[in-house]
Symmetry: C2
Subunit: 403 residues, 2 copies
């Protein structure tokens, strides 16, 4: 098998941990696999460099930042290659450039445009282990770029796609994806597999493990992703396409998102296009709207409720204020003490009653549902934040996820 293994900052956090990673890579190679390794900077290193830059400027040039920040991964990649060579393997360290990773021009948050895998393929063919500095590529001007948050995961997934690898293993400090946050429900179980789409819906569960960007790319490139721990031998969670999962459970997990705020607009002027005006204005200001509900009161006036990430609420308020000044909205109110619980599972595509069970679980626990939204594989509910844990545990039990 050709396996891409990606190790994050904690996994290569000090020299002993890098040796530990070398042992793991060595084991995989000795089992007869071709191995390509992608590494992050040693944990703390990138923050240290950012701190250095901030000493000089609050607005450093993005190109300078990329040259600065890309150095951390180069150090880890070289050291791991040195360790593997010492263990008797033939290993070679590569920068993003050498690995053929070409990005667009957006310094500090570049997108991978194409990967030219020739150099990698040549080394793999000669039996070498390749160790690649993650998080970085090179733009068409030949300048180093970095890929932004979660960039090393992206490097690994993109490389796995370009090499048509059998597996892309993402090593972190957690064992995989759980049915829900184990800190809320200790009976949460690790999932053996999950589909790309479910994983994307469970983003709030998986965000600490894997960013949506990487899952989306894995889906697009059809890369079999495994998230697992570099500190244990426990099997992780396989993220793959739905067709590969023989018997999908009805529901895979319960997600909780505390990072939501509700904005209520009362007395919205009844003219065609008003909703479009409001939400276009919010969209062009990069405010991420999640749920929207529009209602008409008995007196004929219109109310619009929607949710935004808490971090966007100040910006949203400013925009709403403009409409209040022009008289097109009468008044507004805000509520940050809400949260979103979601039931996610591809099984609900072909089964009825999944949403009904969610609602009855809320009722049984005396939790009022403020807003509801559904997709093919998800039922989301906005509730008061104080009921968050109660709701998660109730749903986890109702769908028998602890079994």
């Amino acid at each position: 098998m050709l396996i891409v293994q990606k190790f994050g900052g904690t996994s290569v956090g000090d020299l002993d941990r890098i040796q530990n990673v070398a042992n793991r890579v060595s084991k995989c190679k000795k089992a007869g696999n071709d191995v390509v390794v992608v590494v992050s900077a040693m944990s703390g290193e990138t923050n240290k460099l950012v701190g250095y830059a901030e000493h000089f400027s609050s607005t450093p040039s993005r190109a300078d930042m990329d040259m600065l920040l890309s150095s951390g991964e180069r150090v880890t990649a070289s050291l791991l290659s040195i360790a593997l060579n010492e263990m008797g393997h033939e290993a070679v360290a590569m920068t993003g450039r050498k690995a053929g990773i070409v990005t667009n021009m957006h310094h500090t948050k570049a997108r991978i445009e194409v990967i030219n895998p020739d150099a990698m393929k040549k080394e793999i063919k000669s039996g070498k282990i390749i160790v690649i500095a993650g998080f970085q590529g090179v733009n068409e001007n030949g300048d180093v770029t970095t890929l932004g948050r979660g960039g090393s995961d992206l490097s690994a997934v993109a490389i796995a796609g370009a090499l048509k690898a059998d597996l892309c293993e993402i090593y972190t400090d957690v064992n995989g994806i759980y049915t829900t946050d184990p800190r809320i429900e200790p009976r949460a179980k690790k999932l053996d597999y999950i589909s790309y789409d479910e994983m994307l819906e469970l983003a709030s569960l998986g965000a600490k493990v894997l960013q949506s960007r990487s899952v989306e790319m894995a889906k697009k490139l059809n890369v079999n992703l495994v998230t697992r721990s570099s500190f244990s031998d426990e099997e992780g969670t396989l993220i793959t396409k739905e067709e590969n999962i023989m018997e999908a459970p009805l529901v895979s997990g319960i997600a909780l998102d505390r990072n939501q705020a509700r904005i209520s607009l009362v007395g919205v002027k009844d003219r065609p296009g008003i909703a479009s005006d409001i939400f276009n204005k919010l969209a062009t200001n990069d405010i991420n709207i999640d749920m929207i509900i529009q209602t008409k009161a008995y007196d004929g006036s219109t109310s619009i409720d929607f949710t935004v990430p808490v971090s966007d609420i100040e910006d949203a308020k400013n925009i709403v204020d403009c409409f209040i000044k022009t008289g097109e909205i009468k008044s507004d109110s805000y509520n940050e003490n809400i949260c979103k619980v979601s039931v996610v599972g591809v099984g609900m595509k072909s089964h009825t009653g999944v949403a009904a069970l969610a609602f009855s679980t809320m009722a049984k626990n005396n939790i009022n549902i403020n807003m509801i939204s559904t997709s093919e594989i998800k039922v989301s509910m906005i509730i008061d934040e104080k009921y968050a844990e109660l709701a998660v545990r109730g749903l986890h039990a109702s769908y028998e996820l602890d079994k």
Copy 2:
């Protein structure tokens, strides 16, 4: 003027010192010059990385080492560029690759083969300050290489040559080149200028300031070099071609080299080619011979005396032993308690009596001269090491270098 300024590890040793460098560069730019800056890694950084590598292997791959070690200079270059931009200048950081520095394939001690200055020229033309990561280049395979000890100085001199810069300033923590080591003779004076050839002969004085490799390259490329301190505003020493120095002093300086050992071979077989055999064998083993004296005793037997660096003496002994085994040399003896004092000055080309004054100074101080060698601009004497300081101070006074 187009000025290349190079700052070593101590000059960029911490964030405050990098700011100090930025201020100095800024001043030079504001005075109306075009400025290209070359930086080393922050002091201690390269040693830290070497230590990391040694944790894993005593024989790391040289290519991996180059990827590892080249990261330190990238950090400093990015940070300095960020600082300069914040001060209102337009600055851009460049790796060795981006600056067009192409080397041969010898990882960890590559030689610069060619510099393609187009990218640099373009940025200079647009008024930008360029900050280049020293010590590194790229080979024809596109892999990062490093230039070995003193590599950042070489980068700076080669860049100054390629850009036909008016001046190449090497900033360190000393003020320039002195007539002799001020720790031995406190009356030593800083030289305002010195020729390339004198500087090469004074290598033992200047080694801590500037390596011979860089001076040789400056001579070849006709680069006006200045060594000066980044911690003071004092003018440094200009190293330039002889023709540029209007009135050269008879003698420029007194050099002391304690790192010499003397090997005496007694009863060397009297056959044609024996000396050639011995010294060829030493040369092919990279042993650096300095002085050689051959004498014939009254009994017809030949003696050969020569000096080598102390660090080569074990290797030299092994080679001499081979000749003793075959009976071509009767016996050998070694003396590490010697040193070499040299009087250096282009003025002696056209003046007589310079060597005679050196010998009479030794006689006046009751110092026995073991060996003598001379070149056009140098008189060197091997003496007992215990007389080293006495000899240096005596010569310094005789040639009136404190005046």
